[in-house]
Symmetry: C2
């Protein structure tokens, strides 16, 4: 079994263009594959979103087709050489995948070697559940269960508490602590500008900056770029 | 039918003590009532939370008992003179209320005149659904349906986008816009330091600062303190 995942915290790094910061690892993950199936369900406007993604992948020499234009979305997944799940709202994305019965099909393909690339909401959906998303629950999915492609949760767009803030809402770190009051799965706080490259059982942090690993009952610890996660 | 609600964005205003900023309106809402039932389910440590709340209400001359110490929580709701739902995680709170079958009972009491006071997560649960919470979905509730005590959604701890921010995650305003891509209910962005006082059909903004009203297909507009909401 050969699993290839590229799990990107955010598709646009500050001051850069769409997917610019992680282009190299997109190409590494795809290898000789030059077609990709795009899943735009996390945003409302599928056509516009797919056009943005299509143009960006075309610059890398990759032909992108969007699942929303497929006559049969299930067939599109079955035939895909690789899959890219775009960011947006995680609840909407999961709900749309559930409605179309696509979760088991995507999982089966990825577990048999089809590369899975994802940013933000698409990263949340790669986890066991969507319980560590930052998104507003604007849509009620059938369940919080997701693709379960990795044995940990990811908190995308992770950021540290601002000691100067006067805001009284929970910090991201407090929210993850609350997650561990109710759950035991480790959580990777994936800061913007970073991503995880999963090659079989090797999970490596890439990009600029570090990530923060939260484990129930332990002090959180920093993971440096280039480091392999030992969970 | 006489409905009395006090819906507080945040229980601790920056630089102030627990419930200090809204003490006067707590007393106005309770009138001659001097006992209150506390619902601590949004936090994990019910005992500690109830103790904090008990001490604070004692200072106002109100005797607080916490539902987690009741032999029969349903009976406790049926007998309550007033109810205070504390803040914390909205998903956990809703889930605990659902498990104990308390939602219809609380709703019935409030619609028949029992004052309902709430902060943060407790405010979200007063809305038709919890679809405008900021909280992390650490627990999966049976459904997102909530008490439906008001004909609008509230986004507690609302704050405006920071034009200097380098963070690429969605702003609060973008999240509420996404809510309106999928739903039609108006949303009141309730900034910290403010609250809504509901007296029958009169909904008045109170506290320091303003709120922001979001309606599908319209430009958001500011609501000033003292203003009555016209929805």
């Amino acid at each position: 079994m050969k699993i290839k995942l590229l799990l990107i915290s955010n598709s646009i790094a500050y001051g850069k263009g769409y997917l610019d910061h992680c282009e190299k690892d997109i190409l590494v993950t795809l290898g000789k594959i030059n077609t990709i199936l795009f899943i735009p369900y996390a945003l409302q406007d599928h056509t516009k979103y797919a056009e943005t993604a299509r143009e960006r992948f075309a610059k890398m020499g990759i032909k992108l087709t969007s699942i929303h234009t497929a006559k049969n979305p299930k067939d599109a997944v079955k035939k895909a050489d690789s899959i890219f799940v775009g960011g947006g709202n995680t609840f909407r994305l999961l709900s749309e995948l559930q409605k179309r019965g696509l979760l088991p099909l995507i999982k089966k393909r990825v577990l048999s070697g089809t590369p899975y690339l994802a940013a933000s909401a698409g990263v949340n959906v790669a986890c066991p559940t969507i319980k560590t998303t930052n998104d507003m629950p604007i849509v009620e999915p059938k369940s919080f269960q997701a693709l379960d492609l990795v044995p940990f949760q990811i908190n995308a767009h992770y950021f540290d508490p601002d000691p100067k803030s006067k805001h009284m809402g929970e910090t991201r770190q407090q929210r993850i602590k609350e997650f561990h009051e109710e759950n035991t799965t480790p959580v990777v706080g994936l800061r913007e500008g970073t991503w995880l490259l999963v090659d079989n059982n090797n999970v490596t942090l890439k990009g600029e900056g570090s990530a923060k690993l939260f484990q129930k009952g332990k002090e959180p610890r920093e993971i440096k770029t280039g480091e392999t996660l030992d969970l």
